[in-house]
């Protein structure tokens, strides 16, 4: 999926329009702080109109106040609309794709009829031929085809979809580019993957997460506290024999209540989901994204995540009495025709050299014999799994024992042994090594510092698994893992109070995906897996689990940091507005005007202008998230406290002073 730049014109203009539509009280009330702001802005407007008609008051000053109060509300709406707008553009193109879909439905008699895809029901059979789009989510029941899924994933390299197994699921909107398949529809209209994706990117199905609800309560509480602090001021002023104008009280109130974080709150949530989407991961709920930040245990598949998928030859081990050169030469010859990465790595390890002799007859790998090799005149060379090679002929017991010793040693070191035999003479073994991905060890160190345990899941035997686990630096491993083992492991971790994340693709992964707190299903996986997980990775890249954790943390950090910033701003706002209000009661309180603001009305106006424009200024931060680097929680807190806490105290002193200079220079107050 393509990402749009932050302030693209195509997004900003509709967002400005939506900001006005969002003034609808039914929408506003979802955000109590901004709703309160809108209510007091209305009151200030009424007072302004009344004063204008009566010819009293200071219309220039009060008019500006009202203007900036409404702008505060609109800026908050704008932030939300802008965050939503990015999803809407994506949803629009997805919806177009969906509306164009037509299906060739196969009737009971085997005949096909062309119908709009919206008429397809669960269980219908459809035929999809080369060049056609798949009309609905389903499962391939016959045939094999290569499918371009760019419409969903943005990745144009085609993938294979075939009946049976873990690659049978197809998604509506993707295109068959070769062959033809028969697909059984597995989604009712309106509930397919495409529909869900549209809803997700559009934010239509967005509900407040528990954390957002709790924060909203805290912010509402703060609003109430400041309502009391400001609401009691008229009585205090009356005691001191003076009075304070209502618009000024409203200005103080709005400046103190946490409008900044409240205006940005839903934008932060939407942007968090959006970040995942642009990362080609679809989260089914905001809650899942937040849970990702809380992960305590990561279950990672060995192959593809921890090791690169292919093994590499690392050593030739001849049997006693066999010259190493003989083994190397035989291994090289047997692999010259083998174009797999493993075969190529054997040739490379053997030092390359001349090409295949002209009279050679390569024997390709077959699932029956599980060996491959080469036939030359007088020389028959085979290599393969140890048991398979031994089955090819009878060998002296001593030689077999020697070979076993060698291969056991290789297995213990985390490698896979390949036996090599030439004309019934055992030569030795090739040590194929799992290659740990570059940098993955460092990632695990980082994760450990973040307090996350990594667990490697592998089908290897415990010996091999232990060796690879030690080399990769994971905290634990699950060898010869069955789906039941995974489920049991997840339950055990959860019983210890940890949140567990895993990724999976097969139908047999579905229970574990459903049990885990964050289950990322691979898009290449089966429908069952995709239903069970609460996230779907469109790129089917299990490594991404690590980044998903980071995105979840970043979302919460952004929320927390901006809350801190917003509340810390109050100190400066107090020092701007309070002296301006109270100086008429006690002239000596002018000493509290530590910023040296030019006049009381300019001070009030500057504070309220700062309060308004800080919202759009922080929109980029809210949408992109605060910078996140893996580090222990204590350092993370200190860092964010220093930036957003201390910064939140200092920034408004500077900002308000600068605005005051401008306001005074322009003669606005």
């Amino acid at each position: 999926m393509q990402s749009a730049s932050l302030f693209e014109r195509a997004l900003v203009v509709p967002a400005m329009r939506d900001a006005v539509f969002k003034l609808d009280p039914r929408t506003m009330v979802r955000n109590p702080v901004m709703f309160t702001t809108a209510v007091v802005a209305t009151v200030a407007t009424v007072i302004l109109v009344r004063n204008l008609s009566a010819g009293t008051g200071d219309p220039l000053f009060e008019g500006q106040l009202v203007f900036w109060l409404w702008l505060t509300v609109l800026f908050g709406n704008f932030a939300e609309a802008l965050a939503e707008g990015r999803g809407k553009a994506q949803a629009q193109s997805l919806r177009q794709t969906k509306d164009q879909l037509v299906a060739l439905r196969i009737g009971r008699n085997g005949a096909t009829e062309q119908i709009p895809a919206t008429q397809l029901r669960f269980g219908d059979l459809v035929l999809v031929c080369e060049g056609q789009q798949i009309p609905a989510d389903g499962e391939v029941v016959a045939g094999v085809a290569s499918v371009n899924e760019a419409a969903i994933t943005g990745e144009s390299a085609p993938v294979i979809r075939e009946a049976g197994g873990d690659r049978s699921a197809v998604t509506a909107g993707t295109t068959v580019i070769s062959d033809e398949i028969r697909v059984k529809v597995t989604a009712e209209p309106g509930s397919g993957f495409l529909d869900r994706m549209i809803a997700l990117v559009e934010g239509a199905s967005r509900q407040k997460t528990p954390n957002e609800i709790a924060l909203t309560i805290l912010l509402t509480g703060l609003t109430l506290i400041f309502l009391v602090a400001v609401g009691t001021l008229p009585a205090f002023a009356a005691y001191a024999g003076g009075s304070i104008a209502v618009p000024v009280l409203i200005a103080l109130f709005v400046a103190l209540i946490p409008t900044t974080i409240s205006g940005l709150l839903s934008a932060i949530g939407i942007a968090g989901m959006d970040r995942l989407i642009r990362f080609n991961v679809l989260a089914k709920s905001g809650r899942a994204v937040e849970a990702a930040g809380d992960i305590g245990t990561l279950l990672l598949d060995k192959t593809g995540t921890i090791t690169i998928g292919d093994r590499q030859a690392s050593e030739f081990v001849p049997l006693p009495g066999v010259a190493e050169a003989d083994l190397v030469a035989a291994a090289r010859l047997s692999s010259l025709a083998d174009t797999t990465p493993e075969g190529r790595s054997i040739v490379a390890l053997a030092g390359g050299g001349e090409d295949l002799p002209a009279n050679a007859e390569p024997v390709p790998f077959s699932a029956q014999t599980r060996v491959s090799g080469i036939d030359l005149p007088e020389r028959i060379i085979r290599k393969g799994a140890v048991d398979a090679v031994l089955k090819l002929g009878a060998h002296p017991e001593a030689a077999v024992a020697d070979l076993r010793r060698i291969t056991d040693r290789i297995a213990q070191a985390g490698g896979t042994p390949l036996a090599v035999v030439e004309n019934d003479r055992l030569l030795g073994a090739i040590h194929l090594k799992d290659v740990i991905k570059a940098g993955i060890r460092e990632r695990f160190v980082e994760l450990r510092r973040m307090g996350i345990r990594t667990v490697m899941i592998t089908g290897d035997n415990p010996l091999t698994a232990a060796a690879i686990a030690a080399e990769a630096g994971v905290d634990d491993f699950l060898a010869e893992a069955t789906p039941e083992d995974k489920l049991a492991y997840i339950r055990k971790e959860q019983a210890e109070g940890k949140l567990v994340a895993m990724c999976g693709d097969g139908t047999n992964d579905a229970p574990a995906l459903a049990q885990s707190d964050v289950g990322v299903a691979m898009n290449t996986g089966t429908q069952a897996a995709r239903e069970a997980g609460n996230m779907v990775d469109l790129d089917s890249d299990p490594t991404k689990l690590i980044e998903v954790v980071g995105i979840g943390k970043q979302l919460l950090m952004t929320r927390g940091s901006l809350t801190t910033f917003s509340i810390a701003n109050d100190v400066a706002k107090y020092f701007a507005i309070l002296p301006a209000i109270l100086v008429v009661l006690y002239p000596a309180l002018g000493a509290l005007n530590v910023m040296g603001l030019s006049s009381p009305s300019s001070a009030i106006l500057s504070a309220i202008i700062f309060n308004a424009i800080i919202i759009p200024l922080l929109v980029p931060l809210a949408l992109q998230g605060v910078r996140y680097r893996p580090m222990p929680a204590a350092s993370q807190l200190l860092r964010n406290l220093a930036i957003y806490g201390a910064g939140g105290v200092i920034a408004p002193f500077i900002g308000i002073k600068l605005i005051d200079i401008a306001v005074a220079a322009l003669g606005l107050a």
Binding site: G221, F236, T563, L592
Partner: protein
């Protein structure tokens, strides 16, 4: 200056040292480590079943309601009851209501002078009894809170906790303190007032009575209600330098020990250390400020030919030294004690702000038990914001903090400014308050503000300078004390009840640690922002305006 620093170090530092073993003992006591003592009580009352937070709260409220009614009746009928050698007559019912509320809530706001209003029975059987059980109620509530957080299945039994706090903590300590101060000259007699002929030959009536017993629990239970009107500035309530020091120590020792008791009961002594540290820093900041402001001469004498090189001596007991006045003022308002060692009305304006700030925050060690409970509310808010800042959904010691917990915490935190600022606004704008002031202007405003702060914080000290024995004052502060007492006790129990029901999550390097200095900083800031920012306008219109106006 040197003696001031030395006094602070000896009193605060010495008490902190003593609080450690006391906290250890209290934790053991409330963990049921003294089964034999508990057994006597449980056999006597026929069992002490485990309670959940609702049952515990209900028992607490029911017991306190009963005590309120009992003492209300005793005070109202004192003229008809024995032990009344000076023949005190009936008091007005609004004063009786205020006094019964005041002592039931551990506030001890006194709109009267004890020696001229109440009989010995009323003072000892009613008020002193409440000084024990109201303090014990606070300690019991903290024990229940700690059990809930410390992953125990139940919150314990209120009556068993009440008994433990009364008989195994407060009573033994009170006997020690009472004996010491009685030996130093504080009277302990059931004889009526003495009539003496002074050196001038005039005849003077000197009120006396069983003061030593009263004073001991007054200090230990953060009660603060004096036997005599002038409280601990009265020579018969605070005889000399040593009783003065001893009272200051006993004033703060149990609140300090409560922090360690909490830490031990939840199994997090380091966390308690951070909380203790934050409280201690707040205390030191306030002490430095108060003593610093008070070394400045009073502005009232600025134009008089008076040498003022020892700071503001107005309203101080010179027997006790000039620095102990502000020091006592800080200690008594940091804890919810409320006894006074100098007249707060006569403090320099900014010094007067310090005790008020202490009552606004109300958790710099705070009242026995309840100070730590108030701190718990700030901890909830601090872990919520800090938890998000480390990129996790917030947790406190593995308990997830969500909407319900925030709603309750915010409710309890809001109630404090609502009671103080709402009450002050009502009385400042009407004759109820404005008509009872001795001073006009900003200082008069401070007097009203102080009175409501003292009532809401269950402190009980008076700024004085206020004719507060009126029907509106008695009713209003009586209600404020009741709400300000029970809401912040019950709500935290409800929060913990809700936390207990959740699956507990494991802690790791990625979870917010509440055991480090960084969290201490976060907690400190949260307290200042949530506790103090609200009161900034009121402070500006009271002490700050007075100070700046006088400075001109």
């Amino acid at each position: 200056m040197f003696t001031a620093i030395l006094t602070v170090i000896l009193i605060v530092g010495g008490t902190a040292l003593l609080a450690w073993p006391l906290g250890k003992y209290m934790a053991a006591l409330f963990s049921g480590r003294f089964a034999a003592a508990d057994g006597i009580f449980t056999r006597a009352v026929g069992g002490a079943p485990a309670q959940d937070w609702k049952q515990y709260s209900l028992a607490l409220i029911a017991f306190n309601a009963l005590m309120f009614v009992f003492v209300f009746a005793m005070l109202a009928l004192q003229h008809a009851l024995p032990l009344n050698p000076d023949g005190q007559g009936p008091a007005s019912l609004d004063l009786v209501f205020n006094t019964a509320s005041s002592f039931t809530t551990n506030t001890n706001l006194q709109h009267y002078s004890g020696e001229s209003t109440w009989s010995y029975l009323a003072q000892l059987g009613g008020l002193m009894w409440l000084q024990f059980v109201s303090a014990a109620t606070g300690i019991a509530a903290l024990a229940a809170l700690a059990r809930g957080i410390g992953e125990q299945a139940s919150m314990g039994n209120f009556f068993l906790d009440l008994q433990r706090a009364s008989f195994c903590v407060l009573l033994p300590l009170a006997i020690i303190v009472a004996c010491f101060i009685a030996l130093r000259g504080v009277p302990m007699t059931f004889d009526g007032a003495a009539t003496v002929t002074t050196l001038e030959g005039a005849v003077q009536t000197i009120a006396r009575g069983p003061a030593a017993a009263f004073v001991a629990i007054k200090q230990l239970g953060t009660n603060g209600g004096g036997f005599f009107g002038p409280n601990s500035t009265h020579p018969l309530e605070n005889a000399d330098f040593w009783t003065n020091c001893f009272q200051m120590v006993s004033l703060i020792i149990i609140p300090m020990a409560c922090v360690w008791m909490f830490g031990r009961m939840i199994g997090r002594i380091k966390h308690a250390g951070v909380v203790f540290g934050v409280m201690a820093v707040l205390l030191l900041v306030k002490m430095t400020a108060a003593i610093g402001f008070e070394t400045a001469p009073t502005q009232a004498f600025a134009d008089l030919p008076v040498a003022q090189d020892v700071g503001n001596l107005e309203g101080k007991e010179l027997r006790l030294g000039a620095t102990t006045g502000p020091l006592w003022a800080v200690l008594t308002t940091s804890t919810s004690n409320g006894s006074v060692g100098a007249m707060h009305d006569s403090l320099n304006p900014l010094t007067g702000l310090v005790p008020m700030a202490g009552m606004w925050l109300n958790e710099t060690f705070g009242g026995v038990g309840v100070g730590m409970i108030n701190m718990f509310l700030y901890i909830m808010v601090a872990v919520f914001v800090a938890g998000m800042m480390v990129g996790r959904t917030p947790e406190y010691l593995g308990h997830r903090v969500e909407g319900r917990e925030m709603r309750l915490a915010v409710l309890a935190l809001i109630s404090h400014p609502v009671l103080i600022l709402g009450g002050t606004a009502l009385f400042a704008a009407t004759a109820w308050g404005a008509g009872t002031l001795n001073n006009a202007g900003a200082h008069g405003f401070s007097e009203i503000l102080y009175e409501f702060s003292s009532a809401a914080a269950n402190n009980g000290s008076g700024f004085e300078g206020l004719g507060d024995n009126t029907v509106p004052w008695n009713i209003a502060t009586g209600l404020v004390m009741l709400i300000g007492r029970y809401l912040p006790i019950i709500v935290p129990l409800a929060i913990v009840g809700s936390l207990m029901a959740k699956r507990r999550s494991a802690e790791s390097a990625g979870t917010l640690s509440v055991e480090g200095g960084t969290f201490g900083v976060m907690l400190f800031i949260t307290i200042l922002i949530f506790g103090a920012l609200t009161f900034f306008p009121a402070a500006a219109l009271g002490p700050v305006a007075e100070h700046l106006t006088l400075m001109r």
